[in-house]
């Protein structure tokens, strides 16, 4: 074991297996630098043990119990729907969704105030196609409607002839 390998293990010495601890101990016997690190880790451990004896407590324990009991809903049972919606109660998710919504609205507004898209690589103006307008389907509409008119007219002529 070298110093780099020992570095992390020194700080988590008590979380290692016995075999791993032995390896660290062997390295410590021959390395002054790592022995110093082990000493620092021990000092921190001693401070934590001292600090642990002071325990944070609520100001008024009974008041906290009462407050929690008042906050419990009367008859609320978890359903699949409430469990699914529970995910959205997470503040980080709510903030992400808010940001995404603002971004989408901004893109929509920006797009709507832009001029219609033009094909800029057309060779001449007459080859330019303006999108976002119905001009380009007029020809198609005419083709579609004209034969229908002829058909109706021919049918009218036919009926007229028959009646004469």
């Amino acid at each position: 074991m070298n110093c780099d390998e020992a570095e992390e293990e020194i700080w988590i010495f008590h979380e290692l297996t016995l075999a791993e601890q032995k390896q660290v101990e062997v390295h410590l016997l021959e390395c002054v630098v790592c022995r110093e690190k082990m000493k620092q880790a021990g000092e921190l451990n001693a401070l934590v043990i001292q600090a642990k004896t002071t325990y944070p407590r609520p100001k008024n324990e009974q008041a906290l119990t009462d407050r929690i009991m008042r906050a419990l809903p009367e008859n609320e049972q978890a359903t699949l729907l409430t469990l699914a919606l529970e995910v959205f109660n997470r503040p980080w998710l709510q903030n992400s969704l808010r940001t995404a919504a603002i971004l989408l609205i901004s893109i929509f507004v920006w797009e709507s105030v832009q001029d219609p898209i033009q094909l800029t690589k057309a060779l001449s103006e007459k080859n330019t196609v303006e999108l976002n307008s119905f001009d380009f389907i007029k020809a198609y509409q005419q083709k579609r409607t004209t034969p229908q008119k002829i058909t109706y007219y021919a049918r009218y002529q036919k009926i007229k002839k028959a009646s004469i």
Binding site: W11, L44, T53, P58, I68, M69, W92
Partner: protein
Amino acid sequence: MAGDRQAFSQLVHSNQGYLYAIAYRYLSNEDEAEDAVQEAFVKLWKNFSNYREEVKLTTWLYRILVNHCLDIKKSSARRFQNHRLSIEEAANFSTGSTPHLEMEKKEIACLLQQAVDELSGKQKMVFVLRDMEGLEVGEVCNLMELSEEQMKSNLYHARKKVQDWMKKNYEQD
């Protein structure tokens, strides 16, 4: 239903202190710690019908609290400024020894709390659960849903940062 509430009240009473200690050590704020404890119990109450007996009830409760605390930290709305404990807040640490020793211990506890405040979310929670609350490695992994390797890596970085902070600030004072 009334019986359920009474039993639940007992559960709240016997576990709120431990939950509060975790929440306070993680959030460094009394009001937020109380809110977090309340939120954990309300979530437990609402989802009681989904309780599986193979998981210890208290484990489930602590996991709710840990997730809630980590979520608060993730929220960008919360300003995690370097919180400095006031004398009044320090007074809420209970020790139970002579006044002089008590003062010294409170001072160390306050300094350590400030050092812990400098840690990032998971490192802070691992340090609080393992070092401050004395949970076993397996319990910490279970509560935080981390592998042993991830837990050890977070613990290593946390301890090293806390030691550096303490060295810089404690020895100067």
